[in-house]
Symmetry: C2
Subunit: 296 residues, 2 copies
């Protein structure tokens, strides 16, 4: 299947591209019926090493890997970067093939949300805090498109990045609540050499913003050090993170929160552990990062 | 499997009862993997001949029939009859076995909606009119539980009664929008000899209410006759229906509407056909009925 993975010849693997939903349903059904397991990696394209690490994990844990590439309009709020979000399908296909993905599923918006579309999947509770606060319809768009992808591809496993920790929690909750027979696998955050978490949106950063952006990870590392020294009070840890973030002149902090990783409810101490999650804007670019911290 | 269907021996078919969700997932997966097709008939139990006709249809159109019996709390509004809704699982199992159903899936509420449950499937647009108007959360409960049943049982087909015409339209829309690879089959309304559409709620009717209840079907038949004579104006047809319904002293009309059957949007004429749908209360009992009508 993965011609390009074998020949390393750019652009040849287009036969692995599926853009028609019915074809994807059929292909996936054939694979399952042959007794093979299917792994799904849902992406919005503009693939970087973070995404490709998800493909590696899917590859290791399933027989057949589907990578979806779809910039999902319903998860963007008005005024966000839907129109300017980076798109380069040819490059994505090349990278997916090179990494051993079997199918690139890239449906067009007209087929994903045909005229009169009106069904949505909502996860209440987990979506009010963190990113849900500034992006009210974001998670409804995420859960809806992921439910659709699950129904089309019917994977045995699906791999999501730990970077979008709230998204991961919301997807896990949806899978549990709606009884999807799918194992959700979390993949560790992949970072640039200077610690900046990889993101398709990093491409938006100006030279100076890019120089300051590693402050997100630095703030998390300082929090970790504080915890290693015995600090368990959430407010104190958040204060330290805020202090570090504010040392970067261009950083506009949207939130610094410590929450229970499954419920996304704020915690007062990290005795039982917590998810330290931050969102910071540099100009128009919104970056997120996080770290699981635990006392002792 | 269907021991009782063979031996006609009451109560023996309990081995066909599955109350554990994981067991149902496993059983259904086994059946599919063996190359057989699975048909699902979702019910709230208290089975009558209407439900059993759905089992017959599922039987004809699939290799393995799962009948779910679950009184779904999320589709009842506050003050409705959730607590008093008729329940008789033993009797339901007997009837399903006798009709050739292979599995009765009767999960308990604690497993369907565990503590902290918070995910819902909503279909916008189709649910504002008809029953959705007086039962605002009803369809959200229906679509949520049906999505869950679809994910647990993963049927090839699912059979729903035409009596709940709006429910049928909403389910079809959900299936289309969320890309469920499931064929939805509509089953004709089954009626008592005097024309009353069968319903588990008919059991609530007092003697006098029961005597008057056939007025629903009579009003639909009069509308049909009017249409056969050439009437295409929706308002005139609705007026005639209302006139007939009001001839029954105990009937309290909730709505008489003519809508487009897929979108549930009101129509002015029935030139292109329409769904004539009515809801009438007798005391605390709410009855619905409907008829597809078309000019010419």
């Amino acid at each position: 299947m993965s011609v390009c993975a074998v020949h390393s010849c750019r652009g040849v693997g287009v036969e692995n591209l599926v853009s028609d939903i019915s074809t994807m349903v059929f292909r996936s059904r054939e694979i399952r019926n042959s007794g093979k397991t299917v792994g799904l990696v849902p992406t919005m394209g503009a693939l970087h090493e973070g995404h490709l690490s998800l493909v590696d994990i899917a590859r290791q844990r399933s027989d057949f890997v589907v990578v979806s590439v779809y910039v999902n309009p319903t998860q963007f709020c008005p005024g966000e970067d839907f129109n300017t979000y980076p798109r380069n399908l040819e490059d994505d296909i090349y990278k997916i093939n090179a990494r051993g993905g079997d199918v690139v599923f890239a449906p067009d918006t007209g087929s994903v949300y045909p005229e009169g579309y009106s069904t949505f999947v909502i996860v209440e509770g987990l979506t009010d805090n963190l990113c849900g606060r500034s992006r009210p319809h974001h998670f409804r768009g995420v859960t809806t498109v992921v439910a659709k992808l699950f129904n089309i591809v019917r994977p045995h496993i699906a791999v999501f990045g730990q970077k979008d920790a709230q998204q991961l929690a919301v997807i896990r909750k949806m899978v549990k609540d709606l009884n999807y027979d799918i194992e959700i696998v979390a993949a560790p955050i992949v970072r640039e050499k200077d610690g900046l978490a990889m993101s398709s949106r990093n491409a938006y950063l100006s030279g100076e913003e890019r120089t300051q952006a590693p402050v997100l990870y630095q703030s998390l590392l300082e929090a970790k050090e504080l915890v290693l020294k015995g600090e368990i009070d959430a407010a104190s840890i958040k204060n330290r993170v805020m202090y570090v973030l504010e040392s970067a002149p261009l950083a506009i902090v949207e939130y610094v929160e410590i929450v229970e990783p499954d419920t996304i409810r704020p915690v007062d101490t990290i005795e039982d552990g917590g998810l330290l999650a931050i969102a910071v804007r540099f100009g128009k670019t919104r970056l997120i990062d996080n770290l699981i911290i635990k006392a002792g």
